[in-house]
Subunit: 432 residues, 2 copies
């Protein structure tokens, strides 16, 4: 067993090797001699790490020590010590984020560009069978298979950390999902409102109709539908904080009569509606529940009406990035098209329209990141520096995931198979 394997095998039962918060896994103090003395061994280890990443055009360094990389690197990653480097090396996808968050890894240069370069290099290595990377991947994958459970806990982990925090950087619409930019120079708020209208137009909402929304966030789409399209909405969400915020807002805007916010799971939705909509919930549902979700849709629509599901997705089935899943979205899974089919096919639902808006999500995230950085002092005051770095990494990594094509954003319109109350063309979506 070499030093890397030792560090992998030891894992979290060891006492922390340096001062970190309780949420950070412990790091064993590795005996220096396990890797040989001095810079030569460090250079070898950094080279190994660079190679396992597919040799992206970046520089890797240990503070006041060894460094490896190409001539004109996009960015430089510096480990504060050999111990940190070895600890990260043993499980890069999962530990890089933790080390970045607690500041034992720092980045000079643009963080988004760095992650894009690593993503693109990683894509090129797929199937190249680096045994080291393969072993890391196996370990990670094993852990992932057991995480899709406990929806309520998972949702609380992310969405109930404080509405005030999200208000700092989501813009005035409080929409925490991909916006739709009619042109790339639209503002965030314009694009979020355009997204709501795009969804409502795709659903062909008519005044007096009823809509059920599964996973309504802070309820702004539900209120927009009621206000602008004259429909009645029942909106479900299991985030307690969000539901309270949404109810308060609806009351203030005089919409309490047309929008009902229900603090309950999508599986408990009852009643008949003209339209079903779910924007940004599917990522939290878990593939094993997709057929049940389709059953809810079928029950809600009863052979007529329309539906729309908007979700982050993948080109092919793959788990969420392990650090994002562990620290940001426990239980999260962006589905591939074949996985999304499990919602529709068992219930004879016809897919009418799929639009991939992944470049719009990259743009949305750029706007969020800019607002977040502008408010970073206040975020630091609310939480701590580690939290700021963690969210900076998450937002930057998400931009990279959409620009490199690691992640997609699918908007899917569907209808019960026997219904012909479907649009003749999509031209009306684009009529001004």
């Amino acid at each position: 067993m070499n030093a890397i394997e030792q560090s992998l095998a030891k894992g979290p039962e060891h006492p922390p090797g340096n001062a970190v918060t309780a949420a950070t896994p412990s790091r064993p103090e590795l005996p220096a001699q396990a890797f040989g003395e001095g810079k030569r061994a460090d250079r070898w280890a950094l080279s190994r790490l660079l190679a396992s990443l597919g040799s992206p055009p970046i520089e890797l360094a240990i503070r006041d020590g060894a460094r490896v990389g190409v001539g004109s690197p996009i960015a430089r990653v510096t480990f504060d010590s050999r111990a940190t480097m070895l600890w990260v090396l043993a499980d890069v996808p999962s530990r890089f984020g933790d080390a970045y968050s607690d500041g034992t890894v720092t980045v000079e240069g643009d963080l988004v560009s760095l992650i894009e370069a690593v993503d693109r290099a990683g894509r090129r290595t797929v199937g190249r069978r680096d045994p080291f990377a393969a072993r890391v991947s196996r370990v990670l994958h094993r852990r992932h298979l057991n995480t899709l459970s406990g929806s309520r806990d998972n949702i609380h982990h992310h969405y109930d950390i404080g509405n005030a925090f999200y208000e700092l950087w989501l813009g005035s619409t409080m929409a925490y999902t991909c916006a739709y930019y009619p042109t790339p120079d639209a503002t965030l708020d314009e694009a979020q409102l355009a997204k709501m209208d795009h969804v409502c137009r795709k659903l062909r909402l008519k005044p007096g109709e009823s809509v059920v929304e599964a996973g309504c966030g802070w309820g702004m789409l539900a209120m927009h539908m009621a206000r602008r399209y004259g429909v009645r909405v029942r909106a479900f969400n299991i985030s307690h904080e969000q539901i309270l915020w949404a109810r308060e807002r609806a009351k203030r805007e005089g919409l309490a009569g047309s929008v009902e916010f229900v603090e309950d799971d999508y599986r408990n939705i009852s009643g008949r509606y003209d339209a079903f909509v779910s924007v940004g919930m599917l990522e939290h549902v878990g593939v094993k529940n997709y057929t049940a979700l389709g059953g809810v849709v079928q029950r809600c629509l009863g052979g007529r009406g329309r539906g729309l599901i908007h979700s982050i997705g993948r080109n092919r089935p793959a788990p969420l990035h392990p650090w994002t899943e562990k620290r940001i979205f426990p239980g999260g899974h962006p589905p591939a098209p074949s996985e999304m089919a499990r919602i529709f096919e068992p219930w004879d639902l016809s897919i009418l329209d799929v639009e991939n808006l992944r470049l719009h999500y990259a743009q949305t995230l750029r706007h969020w990141l800019a607002l977040f950085e502008g408010a970073s002092e206040r975020v630091r005051a609310m939480f701590d520096e580690k939290f700021v770095r963690m969210w900076r990494l998450y937002l930057s990594g998400s931009i990279a995931a959409f620009t490199t094509g690691s992640m997609q954003l699918f908007q899917v319109v569907f209808a019960p198979g026997e219904s012909n109350d479907i649009p003749w063309t999509r031209a009306d979506l684009y009529a001004s």
Copy 2:
């Protein structure tokens, strides 16, 4: 073993029971006493048949004999004898078409409406476990699993029966695929040209680019792309008759320099192109070859460019209607979304846009059927009455399949996952 099972078990090795052409399977003469004497037993059998169809609002009758059905039937189906009725009863999906074709079954009323009613009733019975229907279904399904092979033979069966025949009813564009009607009152030729433009716009073709087409029919899309969009096209097809027609036409129109027609299988496509397009071929590919088709796409595009696949599809995996598969499209299979995913997912291709045009296919088929009926004397002179009735049933049944939602028409736009050379929105598709 009862009389129905006897007739099912005997099958084609028995001598024909009445004068039919060689292509029609034989019908055993059933002893009348197997079902009891007289009208009462016939009524019982007709009722059984009606029930096995899910009790659609139609009337079933034996000529000069029993009849069953609802008060105001949509249409009446008359069997010329008890023997025909029992023969059909044993395997309705497969044998009804043959009996209709040879005229031993006749229909009063609208044939499309009749099939729509039967389709809708059948949809309602799914999962209701009629043991009779289930047994029929099992038998049919067993046969189906072994038919997806021999692409060249299968294609010749349908497409090489004579260009002159297709010229009678496809309109001037010779496009034998779903048209795109900007408005429902467009003519067939207008809609076929609009479809070609819709496809070219979705592919964002630019002058000077290269396009490869898999399954080009009579080559009219390839010629349209070269003529209107200034691209070079290599178009593949294994139908000898179609390739000859297409080459002749390209020469006559002075397009031989920009469009090359290759008589070869899509699996043998070589070279690099800016765009891949396939309109109406996937139905003949077979699910087991989808990953190979995706590999061809990936090889052709090499990490950049765009692709479009246009195909009949399903809401969920199901074999083609057994009679259509046997008499019209041997080896045909319209895929469900989860099956189509096997083209894209193994090769990291991003699905960018899916549009379901099933109502446009119903309209296209209505136009084809009207032209076909107008030319039925000439078709009869080319072939025979049985051929006319067979194609009438096929075209009528296809209309019903799209209006009842049994079949879908998916246009899928995709691009290599790592390419960001993808449209910002779809608004330009609808700019006039």
